[in-house]
Structure formats: C-alpha cells, structure tokens
Amino acid sequence: MTRIMLERVREAIEQGLIGSRLWFYANYHCNLACAYCLTESAPDVAQRALEPDLMVELAEEGRAIGFTSIGVTGGEPFLVPQMPELLLRLSSVLPVVVLSNGTLFTGKRLERMRPLGERDVRVQISLDRSEAVANDEMRGPENFRKVLEAIPKLVALGIGVRIASTLVWVDEDDMAKLCGLHRSLGVPDEEHVVRGVVRRGRALTEGLGEPAGIAELGPELTISADGAFWSPFGPTVVGGLVDTDLLVTRAISPLSMPAETLAGLVTGSGYSGPIDDRFT
C-alpha cells in the first residue's frame, strides 16, 4: 500500500466521505433472537468471532490511517469471554462505543467493567419501548427488566451509557415516556439514539423496516470474520448466508487493503455521501 493511497483514505475520512469510526463485528452469536436482527443472531448460531489480538492490531492500524474511534458490535459482544479486558485495550488506542443488549451486566462481568469507568468507552444499550410487554415482544422475555437493572449499575461505575431505540414506527406518546425513562436512568437526551429498522437480515424475512443499500447507508468501514463491509449494516445474514452485496474485500488484514478499496469506491464511483440519514 503506497503512501499516496493511504493519504486518499485519510482525506476521505477527514472530508467525511468515509465515517471516522472503524467498526468490528466481535462475534455473531447472541443470547437473544430479536425479530429485526440484521445478522440472524441467536444462541445457537456459529460464533464467527474476531480474535481480540487482531482487533487491537487493526485498531492501531486504523488510528494510523486516520480513523478516530472504534465501534464494537455483534451478535452480543459481551458473550465474548474477554470483552471487558478487550475494551480496555481498544480504548487505549481510540475512543470506543460498544453495542450491547444490556442483559449480561451482572456479577463478575459487571465487576470486570469497573476499569472502563476511567476510559473513553461508552456502552450503547438497546431499549425500544417504554413498557416491558411492548419492548420484550420484539427483543425477548425479561429484556426490559434486565436493561433497566443494568443501566444504573453501569452509570454508577462511571461508564458512559447510550440508549438506542430501534423503531418500526414512532409512537409519540411512547417516545415521550421512553425519554422520561432514560432520563430517570441517568442517560441524557444527547445519549439517546433513535433509528429505523433496516430491511436486511431477519427484518427482511419478517418484512420489517426500510430497504437499505449503498445509496442509503453511509460508508463506515466494518470488519467481521467474513470480510470487510461498506457499513455496519453490511454483514447481514439471511437464511444462514452472509449477504455479499455490501462486501468490500474478504481480506481484513492489513486494514489498509479494505480501507483503500472503500476509499476507491467512495471517491471513484460518483458516490457523493449518504442521501438518507435514517440509519446513521
């Protein structure tokens, strides 16, 4: 990879043509099986986990290229046994946001999260509705209760918490209640993310959400065990098969290879940025 090519990546990030966050799919398995899940994640699917050492190595390369933060998603990342320690290592490279269903922050795992309170790590927890029945209908039994128990514990450790609400449609009354709820849990409005359902993965099978391809999704380099993708909404799974329509390269290391290919797609294909911010 030449210096000129890497400069093209850096410039694309600085100009906002490529998202400045580098995403990792830590794994694909999950203790839940949400109706709109992009990756058909569930307890019994193959883990397809990225090696923690590789993630740290790629994060360091990402920082050198020009990325300014790390995103970790899955599956449920906290099913990866060493996730709290991995987040500590990643946060020594760049600020980190990790997406979680919020159901696993108990006992020893919660205690191992304590050092993250002193780092630039935010945990983004999914909470879709203000009431247990409606929330758990999409996300599984006891999800609401576990999330409401977990958030104050994380806040008490000094860990930044964001709440992400994925909505099939917006119910204004429920949204007001949901905002009241997250405020009561210690999560301010600016840390509440509301997004639509992307019609990929299990949502496609269920006929939920809005179609999303290259025109709708902003380019954010996303690394998974299956390759490098255009967006964190790229490595979706339908019928057990990984979608390849947003695949950039199978190669993920060195990071410069998919990064340069993504920059080439963005700067050489007439692509002029996302035209729809519903999914960003």
Partner: protein
C-alpha cells in the same frame, strides 16, 4: 457449498448479491458467467485475476486460431469439461473446424500431415508436454517450437497454457457448468458435448 453430484460446489453469486467492486460485471443484465460468479465470492481475487485471465487467454501476439488450439488442447488434456466446451465453441469462430476440434479433444498426440501445418504440429506437441508432462519440456519438443516462434510469443504461449491449467482446475474442482449458449453453438456445428468432454 452443495454436495449434489452435478451441481456447482459453491453458490454462484448473482446480481443481487454481487460485492461492490464486482457489481459492474452484472450491469445491464449481462450474465458474466460462472467463473466471475464464483470468483466474486472474493472480490479482490476477482479484481486481480480477471485482467490477467483476459490478457493471458487473449494474447497480444498469438492469432486467435493459435490461441484456441492451445487452450482447447490443454483443457482436454486436463479433463476440464467447462473449458473444453466453452473454448471449443470459441474455437469454431476462430477457424478451427469441427473435425480438428474432435481431434484436439481425443486421447493421443495430434497427428501431423492433416489440416495442421508443421508449426501447429510442433505447437500441439509442446502444449502436450507443458500441460500434461512432468518436469522440464524435452529439448527436442522445445526446439521444434522455437523454430516457429520468437521469445515474446513463447512467453505468451507459456502463460496461456499456465492460465488455462489454472482455470481447468478451478472450473473442474468447483464443477462450473457450461452455458446453454455454448452448447447451442457446438450443436449448430454438429458437435455433441460428449464428443469433446467426458
């Protein structure tokens, strides 16, 4: 991956699943064929391989008939049904006759004295050694061809055989199917697939 006896051993990428850098091969409803559809699973491999394959098989110096003699003969020796049939059809459009095609695909050396001149006989004997021989090409075989080709053409022909062998093993191992268009072109010249490929 499938295990059916005659089905491809990998799923063939379709237009709606084409990776970003590969999608151009499906533009305007074009069917890029099973080699592209298989290689597209690894888009960076497709991007690297396709220009090489195109140049190596097309050649810059070799005339179309010479190129197709080389490719069909090597493919037949390697037992590649896909390449033998596909390039058999292309060969017909490069002035290779149906009888020449059948002879290229038959077991045993291609005899001289027929439609092939001295140069083509030397060429086909050389292809047999490069594609199916073991170790170095015998000096006599190399010398006979060198009497008819210069260094540049020799390099081009050697790359042509090498690239053909790569495709032969790729297409055979993954059980890639010849297209209906190919079979129709062969049938139009009175050739049944089993005459060329086992």
């Amino acid at each position: 991956m499938t295990s059916d006896t005659f089905a491809p051993r990998v799923g063939l990428i379709t237009a709606d699943r084409a990776p970003l850098t590969a999608a151009r091969h499906w533009r305007e409803g074009i069917d890029p064929g099973p080699i592209v559809a298989a290689l597209a699973h690894v888009p960076e491999l497709l991007d690297a391989a396709l220009p090489f394959i195109g140049q190596a098989l097309r050649g810059s110096i070799a005339d179309p008939r010479t190129a197709e003699l080389v490719i069909v003969r090597a493919s037949a020796l390697l037992g590649c049904s896909y390449c033998t049939l596909t390039h058999g059809a292309i060969a017909l459009d490069a002035d290779v006759t149906p009888d020449e095609l059948r002879a290229l695909c038959a077991r045993g050396a291609v005899a001289g004295g027929g439609s092939h001149d001295e140069r083509e006989v030397a060429l086909l004997a050389w292809v047999d050694e490069v594609a199916a021989g073991h170790g170095d090409v015998p000096d006599g075989v190399a010398r006979d061809l060198a009497a008819h080709v210069d260094d540049a053409l020799l390099v081009e022909l050697t790359a042509m055989v090498g690239c053909t062998i790569f495709l032969n093993r790729f297409c055979t191992t993954l059980r890639l199917p010849a297209s209906e268009t190919t079979l129709a072109r062969l049938a139009a010249s009175g050739i049944q697939p089993e005459e060329l490929a086992a």
